[in-house]
């Protein structure tokens, strides 16, 4: 069939005039053929560009999950090496960024507590303002996720923020009489830099946990490191004092910086997206918001430290006994977290999650014993049991959170969930204290809210909870099935 001729088309196209010199000579003379070849080139290059257009990584993850496959496919050998590296980095990082906060190791250097006239409300307000940046982690995460230059240089950004915070810790050594607005500015600067470092560390944790399938163990380590730092802070603060405190904090940050420089890959991912796109991804991540709701229901109402301290006072428990109770609770928490690190590889979240929620509700109800006479032994038993139960649900929820964060925005997803967690705790303390409810009512409310979380659990996608850590998803749980349907099936 001859090619159909159109107005302006060549009557003897170059490609039909043969090859070599004849075609070359024809092209040289024929404007129409040169133009047609140019357009064909555009079509060919356009098609090649369309072939190489990037595919969103979360699309593959979702397709794998929907088809009942492991997402992403695990490479156990690389996973073990990656896990060891991530465990070391996250462990050191969480301890350093927690202990080096200005209100942890040497609060008297910055806080208004050094002023004799400072009230409790004034001190609380001061630290709330100084710690503002810890609530703005999603903003830092959004900046990272939408800025290719920052994201691909995340190690450099992490080192700069950790180094900057360490340098700020040197200021109280160089200027021992730092006070007022200057002290506050230094404390705010430290928190801003540490919050940025923590955001990068958290996003890296999510990336690695999803890549090597270690959400349970990495989540457990995260929680354990945070608890160890919480326990060590007052002891370290007492031991180091005002003079050595800053040096210890700077040393911790230096250790973290060196660890990060050695273990964190120097070039980060390059997948910047527009702010609108990231917000859209986050808002459409239904699983993430379900986990956020679980955090609000389970973690939020269980924070009633101030009311508990008052009850312990009423039962005649001394400050030293309260400190011992705290240690007992923390020891039980660490024990529970260690058990979870082993358990998560043999039991799936579909069992751990309801069990943890019910155990947490039961453990909380034990506080009703404060309504009657209660000695130190009874209070210690409550702390031990509740420590075990509460830690189990916290670390299970953290495991779930790591799985639920969209792989396309790990930094933002992690920061949002941590902010929800922190805000839920803070809001609960304030609300419970201001509602003038009896202690028994608060305890009952907390337990009821925890049980209500089961209603959210049954709506979770089976793809999130139907497998043990590092295990491929069972095929029966892949097809967009909810937990309740999967449980029945």
């Amino acid at each position: 069939m001859r090619r159909e001729l159109r107005p302006g088309a060549c009557k003897e196209p170059a490609r039909e005039a043969g090859s070599g010199l004849v075609a070359w000579w024809h092209r040289l003379r024929c404007e129409a053929c040169r133009r047609a070849d140019a357009v064909d080139g555009v079509i060919a290059r356009g098609a090649a560009q369309m072939r190489s257009e990037p595919v969103p990584s979360e699309s593959l993850a979702r397709a794998l999950a929907a088809a009942g496959c492991a997402a992403p496919p695990f490479t156990p050998t690389a996973g073990r090496a990656g896990l060891a590296r991530t465990l070391a980095l996250v462990g050191v990082g969480i301890v350093a960024t927690s202990l080096a906060q200005p209100d942890r190791i040497a609060p008297s250097l910055f806080g208004p507590a050094q002023h004799p006239g400072a009230t409790a409300q004034g001190i609380a307000g001061f630290w709330a303002l100084v710690g503002l940046f810890w609530y703005l982690k999603p903003v830092a995460a959004l900046l990272l996720e939408t800025n290719g230059a920052l994201l691909s240089r995340r190690t450099l950004v992490l080192l700069a923020s950790v180094g900057g915070a360490a340098l700020l810790w040197l200021l109280p050594i160089l200027s021992p009489h730092l006070a007022g607005g200057a002290a506050m500015a230094v404390a705010i600067g430290m928190n801003a830099l540490l919050a940025l470092a923590s955001t990068i560390l958290g996003g890296y944790l999510i990336e690695q946990a999803q890549r090597i399938g270690a959400s349970g163990r990495l989540g457990a380590l995260h929680q354990a490191a945070a608890h160890v730092a919480g326990m060590a802070a007052p002891l370290l603060g007492l031991a180091a004092g005002r003079v050595a405190g800053p040096a210890v904090a700077a040393g911790l940050l230096l250790a973290f910086g060196v660890t990060a420089a050695l273990l964190l890959p120097h070039s980060g991912p390059t997948r910047p997206a527009r702010v609108r796109e990231q917000v859209r991804r986050l808002s459409s991540a239904r699983e993430l918001w379900q986990v956020a709701l679980l955090l609000l229901l389970v973690i939020g109402p269980s924070s009633f430290e101030a009311l508990l301290t008052r009850q312990q006072d009423l039962h005649g428990l001394t400050a030293v006994q309260r400190l011992h109770l705290n240690w007992i609770g923390e020891a039980a928490t660490l024990l529970s977290i260690a058990a979870y690190a082993l358990l998560c590889r043999s039991v799936s979240l579909k069992s751990l999650l309801p069990a943890g929620i019910l155990a947490n509700a039961g453990g909380t109800l034990l506080y009703l014993a404060y309504a009657g006479p209660l000695g130190f032994a009874g209070a210690a038993a409550i702390e031990a049991i509740n420590g075990l139960a509460a830690a189990l649900i916290v670390v299970t929820l953290f495991d779930l959170a790591v799985r639920a964060v969209p792989s396309a925005c790990p930094y933002l997803g992690y920061a949002v969930l941590m902010s929800v967690n922190n805000a839920a705790r803070a809001l609960s303390e304030v609300t419970m204290a201001s509602l003038s409810l009896s202690f028994a009512t608060v305890v009952a409310l907390s337990a009821v809210c925890s049980v209500l979380a089961l209603l959210v659990v049954v709506r979770l996608p089976a793809a999130l909870i139907a497998r043990r850590e590092g295990e491929p998803l069972p095929a029966s749980a892949g097809n967009g099935m909810r937990f309740q349907e999967y449980w029945v099936s």
Partner: protein, 200 residues
Amino acid sequence: MDDSEWVRRILAGDEQERSRFVTALHGPIYRWLRHLTGSEDAANELTQETFVEALQAIHRYEGRASLSTWAHRVAYFRYTHWLRERSRDRKLRAPLSDAESRPDPAANANWESFCLRQALAQLTDEHRDTFVLHHVQQLSVLEVAEVLGVPPGTVQSRLFHARRRLRDLLGDSPGSTLSGASGPSAPAPENTNIHEVVIR
């Protein structure tokens, strides 16, 4: 490993092969569905449905075509079903028009694909689907025929008309997309298989 062996392993319950099937074919299927639907969300949804359906029906794979072609056919079924459910056919099939589809004017890297997509939007559905399968998805004429369920001659005819129309749109007609952007001195095509579709 040939496709039949691959399918046998998937049917035997090999989870790794199952994952490999989705991972290997996800990119081409997703891109194709994005070209067809003009929407990332719809492409995501249809890609998931395609793999769910493909893995459920993989026992029906007879080995007449490659597994990739067979997956494309499943995707095309899903797409036509999706299309039937929507009455706003033409509107939905418009090219991506939001900011994310536009090439960065400063970096001219994706200019040609942008122009091509604009021109493809003006073709008939049949011509566009055939052209994209052959030139973007790089399926042979026989494979395209298998996916679309039409004779190979029809595919060749559609490719010829699609390319002729694209030439008109991209270069020949006054005020066309590429007028002034690509002149006679533009470099020769890198991918010469574009010329194979001319019916001899």
